[in-house]
Symmetry: C2
Subunit: 272 residues, 2 copies
Amino acid sequence: MTTQQLYNQIQQKKSFLCIGLDVDLDKIPQHLLQTEDPIFEFNKAIINATHDLCVSYKPNTAFYEAYGLKGWQSLEKTIRYINENYPDIFTIADAKRGDIGNTSSMYAKAFFEDLKFDSVTVAPYMGRDSVEPFLAFENKHTIMLALTSNQGAFDFQTIQANDKPLYQTVLETSKNWKNSKNLMYVVGATKAEYFKEIRSIVPDAFLLVPGVGAQGGNLVDVCKFGMNNKVGLLINSSRGIIYASNGTDFAESARKEALKLQSEMALILEQN
Amino acid sequence: MTTQQLYNQIQQKKSFLCIGLDVDLDKIPQHLLQTEDPIFEFNKAIINATHDLCVSYKPNTAFYEAYGLKGWQSLEKTIRYINENYPDIFTIADAKRGDIGNTSSMYAKAFFEDLKFDSVTVAPYMGRDSVEPFLAFENKHTIMLALTSNQGAFDFQTIQANDKPLYQTVLETSKNWKNSKNLMYVVGATKAEYFKEIRSIVPDAFLLVPGVGAQGGNLVDVCKFGMNNKVGLLINSSRGIIYASNGTDFAESARKEALKLQSEMALILEQN
């Protein structure tokens, strides 16, 4: 998928919502546990109930790996279900991978070719040759961690490195990498004031923004400082949507929560 | 496994060799491709041929994920085979994971509880709360990237951060984390001169050292600066051992290469 196609979808749906499919068997409705593949059944119901309100789904691989082979199978079924039924959706494997060159190539192959995700999240610590193997895939997108939404972000990401916060050095350095046009960045919503600085470094890149809702970020502030002329934002919500109810009405409740966010987004898009 | 048990094994085998099980179907002997699970058959043969010469095996998860469900199954069979047949071996899931707290907990559960690895590699960028969920497991070990052996290490790891190279800040900061006694670190062998500085920061921690051999590091230099009074080093070799031959003699050839390294190690241990 191209970023233009993603932008078209945003305009059409009046939404830049990404829904995180972080499925924990301890949190999903109990009646699903009797099905053969509870994780997939849960995802399918959530997707069917919300696909017109969001532009992206983001399964975090940790939640699937935690269930071993069965979990990996649920992930495969989920991505296939999205690609077959809602091919306009921008899919994100939230995997935060990164390794030496030939090894990163194996990860890129796994997520882009075999699983057919549109994008994958990566960690920057190992530098250029750990990320470029992902960037080599045409019309695939590599979403690199810049400034995350957790408390630990302040341990290293914001310390002064080369006379500026490390996350700014990461952003600037990555712009010089081969095929950097395929880069997007993770920027946590808990720090809306940082978006202004970030936009001065990467004016055109899409930013994947976790931390609206559960982690306390404010949508209006993030948009005020983070939006560019092609929107340039994907706002992620996971638990706030998918665990809105743990009864038999879970999908309907998830839709209601997604609708709230989408309505706010439609209003913001109208005003811009 | 405790670090004391690991040290005992090192003394007994006169080896601190770790063998990386990075299995690429394009590189293994062709006759194995006719078996039902070529990756597992390859690993089993390599393990049977080398287990008395090394103290650790390290499958890199990328090489298994690249083959989807079948790959994940091969990984499960491999770790189970090691644990059942050679329970004294220190096993490392080279996964380089790291995510927000509740998500890192899922990864920790996947690698420590379900797959029963002794250790897993993690990336530091997301800070304390991305690593502490791994550290919470007793007698399990979390091997954090400090200074890697690839060219990209110089993009961020060695830049001045808080008036010292970032990797040193990472080492120092991590010592204050809860259960930091369960930390080990990845330190690439291509920069033997750095080991002296690193040992002044983390004198007691085990260091997992890639980059001897294929990536050009020198074993004697690394030991000179990196060894502590309980050895404190695990030297990894992957391709140099497991792809020593791609004929039917591959396991025997792998043993020969492992024996070369183990003999060098025995000599070094004797002289210290």
